[in-house]
């Protein structure tokens, strides 16, 4: 019986993750052909993540937020504010440990403010984080004025410069570690189920006994903390803290999450999808650099890719519904 049932099932089902992996491999192959194989060198291939680690870290946290049906537009500004606070504290006290502590404290405070407003009042997350986006960006601009904080101690850049076996950058390892932690929480722990329940039907989740407010508060705070971590990684690569470093990053992080298959309306989330989507962004950026196309072409292709993925996503949904109806 068991055998027959298994045989009846189609051997190969197209899943969204599968499409994403195919897309990743396809893009690498495409750029390998276009750029004469440069991208296949191990140092280049692993170096892809150098440009997208901070986006990736924020995207992992954002996956949680978007799974609950919320959104956080303030990630870029929080990152910029943390970076500016780090730079300013180091410039005034010359104490890097204190500076990093202040940076994390800033991220925590930003996240807590978002979390309190969203969990305690009926204000929509989109509006709240729209407001705090300008607020944090504004505070960062007030603090820094026209200064750019660009003095950091010697060892501070090790995350970006040092590589394991001279191949794998440490920031990539950090990203993978955080991916594993987030994936464990999302797929194996209660919180993952709670988040999906909140996203699918908040009222039902409440009646089920899920602490909706607590969970929301927790994930927005977590997002703030991840933003400060991202700021440290950003500064270790490009040691210049100024307020406008995060302007495009919130769009990029949301793009990564949505490309990864998380439903923006909530209820369906995929940490693994986000991970692969971040890698896709890295391949795109590096590949375009290798061909010699920089700047906004990346955004253009990213946008087109996102539209195609969204349409594909809705098509898959349509097919699934049709199959269920039959």
């Amino acid at each position: 019986m068991e055998h027959k049932k298994a045989a009846k099932k189609p051997k190969f089902t197209i899943t969204y993750i599968g499409i994403l992996i195919a897309l990743l491999v396809g893009l690498i192959a495409l750029f390998a052909v276009l750029a004469e194989g440069t991208i296949l060198k191990p140092s280049v291939l692993f170096g892809l993540t150098e440009n997208v680690t901070e986006v990736g870290l924020m995207a992992l946290a954002l996956t949680f937020v978007i799974t609950t049906g919320g959104i956080d537009l303030s990630v870029g500004s929080t990152m910029a504010l943390s970076a500016v606070m780090l730079g300013m504290t180091y410039e005034t006290t010359n104490n890097i440990a204190l500076a990093i502590f202040v940076s994390f404290l800033t991220g925590l405070a930003c996240g807590v403010l978002n979390g309190v407003i969203i969990a305690k009042t009926k204000i929509a997350p989109l509006v709240t984080t729209l407001a705090t986006m300008s607020l944090y960006y504004g505070i960062a601009r007030i603090i820094s004025g026209t200064n750019i904080f660009s003095t950091y101690p010697e060892g501070f850049t090790f995350l970006a410069e040092k590589k394991l076996f001279n191949i794998v950058p440490y920031q990539f390892i950090l990203f993978v570690v955080f991916y594993i932690i987030f994936a464990l929480f999302f797929y194996r722990a209660n919180i993952g189920r709670y988040l999906r329940a909140i996203g699918y039907n908040e009222k039902a989740a409440k009646f089920m006994g899920v602490g909706v407010g607590t969970n929301k508060f927790f994930i927005y705070t977590l997002t703030g903390l991840m933003c400060s971590l991202a700021s440290i990684i950003y500064l270790s690569r490009l040691p210049a803290a100024k307020p406008d470093i995060g302007l495009n990053l919130n769009l990029e992080a949301i793009t990564a999450v949505v490309l990864g298959g998380t439903n923006i309306m909530g209820g369906v989330g995929s940490v693994s999808g986000t991970f692969i989507a971040v890698l896709i962004l890295g391949v795109l950026r590096k590949g375009l650099q290798l061909i010699g196309l920089g700047g906004n072409i990346y955004n253009f292709i990213l946008g087109i890719l996102l539209v195609i993925c969204l349409i594909g996503f809705s098509y898959l949904d349509y097919v699934k519904k049709k199959r269920l109806r039959n």
Binding site: K122, A131, L135, I254
Partner: protein
């Protein structure tokens, strides 16, 4: 019995009672008025040049915010409005540079706006992609288009055939573009009050399923609104760029947040179905006052973002506070005497 008691109460409350006329738009209007008066009396804002610049700011913001309000009323959003405006303005300026008059380049801007907004609308209604993600993707596409444009999205040295719209004033200080935006506002106020289509907008935003049962095609309404938005964004780009001699397509990137801010501050619910255009108009004035005030009060430009954020938070928090409870509270304080009289009687 009921009628009698209410009549008695009505007589008792005959004197001025602010709780009676309190509504969101009123509160916001009063705040705006106070801000305006403070700004007017404290600074050199009252010079004609200051007022003209202020009105120019209001005019393009107003036009674009009306468009965004209509979209947000249906529960959708368009965060690509800023970049769209840049592309419209660029197209108009490009045509104007070739020597064509305003009756050519204004339609060009509108057509470009309708095309871009139409793409948004098709993706959202045909493929059922949530509007925030679809327009997020379109921002990236527009940003990419900027550098594909000839001369990097810049048009310089525009002649008077383009700039006369933005620089002409009536009575010495009222710019003609402000009059245009006022006409648009008046048209839409009447439109929202009396047209059948406006009822459909509220129906779709309020309860999509109920709208379907009532015989409304939500996708059709949303698509039509996106086309309308294209027209308005096209006009808004003309209003924004004509006071300048240089058009830089990417200078409007991020401006969509201003439009959404004005809309949200004006009391429109981001979930759709609730909101008024009057509120948006007041919100636009408030947002422009904040931006101007920062400059005139001698703050550096970079304070405006922080203040803007705080203002959205405060106004939205005010909106969340239950106005009914506040009214009851006010009424209780104001009619304290009356209660004591009633207690004596009983």
């Amino acid at each position: 019995m009921m009628a009698k008691s209410s009549k008695i109460q009505g007589e008792a409350n005959n004197r001025f009672n602010p709780a009676k006329i309190l509504n969101k738009e009123m509160v916001l209007g009063i705040i705006t008025l106070i801000a305006f008066v403070v700004l007017y009396s404290l600074t050199n804002f009252k010079t004609e040049a200051g007022l003209t610049t202020f009105l120019k700011d209001v005019s393009y913001l107003l036009t674009a915010s009306i468009a965004l309000t209509l979209i947000i009323l249906t529960g959708n959003i368009d965060i690509s409005a800023g970049t769209m405006m840049g592309l419209c303005g660029y197209a108009a300026a490009y045509v104007a540079k070739l020597g064509y008059e305003f009756y050519v380049y204004i339609p060009v801007a509108i057509v470009v706006g309708v095309l871009l907004a139409g793409i948004n609308g098709i993706i959202i209604t045909r493929f059922k992609v949530p509007s925030i993600v679809a327009t997020l993707a379109m921002i990236n596409v527009h940003l990419g288009l900027f550098i594909l444009l000839p001369s990097g999205g810049w048009v310089e040295n525009l002649k008077s055939n383009f700039t006369f719209l933005g620089t002409t004033t009536i009575l010495g200080f009222i710019p003609i573009i402000f009059i245009i935006s006022l006409v648009i506002l008046a048209f839409f106020l009447v439109f929202m009050k009396y047209s059948r289509f406006s009822k459909k907008i509220y129906a779709v935003g309020g309860n999509n399923h109920a709208a379907v049962l009532a015989g409304i095609n939500p996708d059709r309404v949303v698509m039509q609104l996106f086309l309308l938005e294209g027209v308005l964004i096209g006009i808004s780009s003309i209003l924004f760029y004509t006071p300048k001699t240089i058009v830089q397509a990417n200078s409007t990137y991020g401006m969509e947040m201003l439009f959404i801010t004005a809309t949200v501050v004006g009391g429109t619910s981001i979930m759709g179905g609730k909101g008024k255009l009057v509120g948006t108009a007041i919100g636009v004035v408030l947002v422009s006052i904040i931006n101007r005030a920062m400059i005139f009060l001698g703050f550096q430009d970079y304070y405006s973002n922080a203040v803007q954020g705080v203002v959205i938070l405060i106004v939205v928090l005010l909106a969340v506070i239950d106005l009914k409870k506040l009214k009851q509270y006010l009424r209780r304080i104001l009619s304290n005497n009356q209660q004591t009289v009633r207690r004596e009687n009983s």
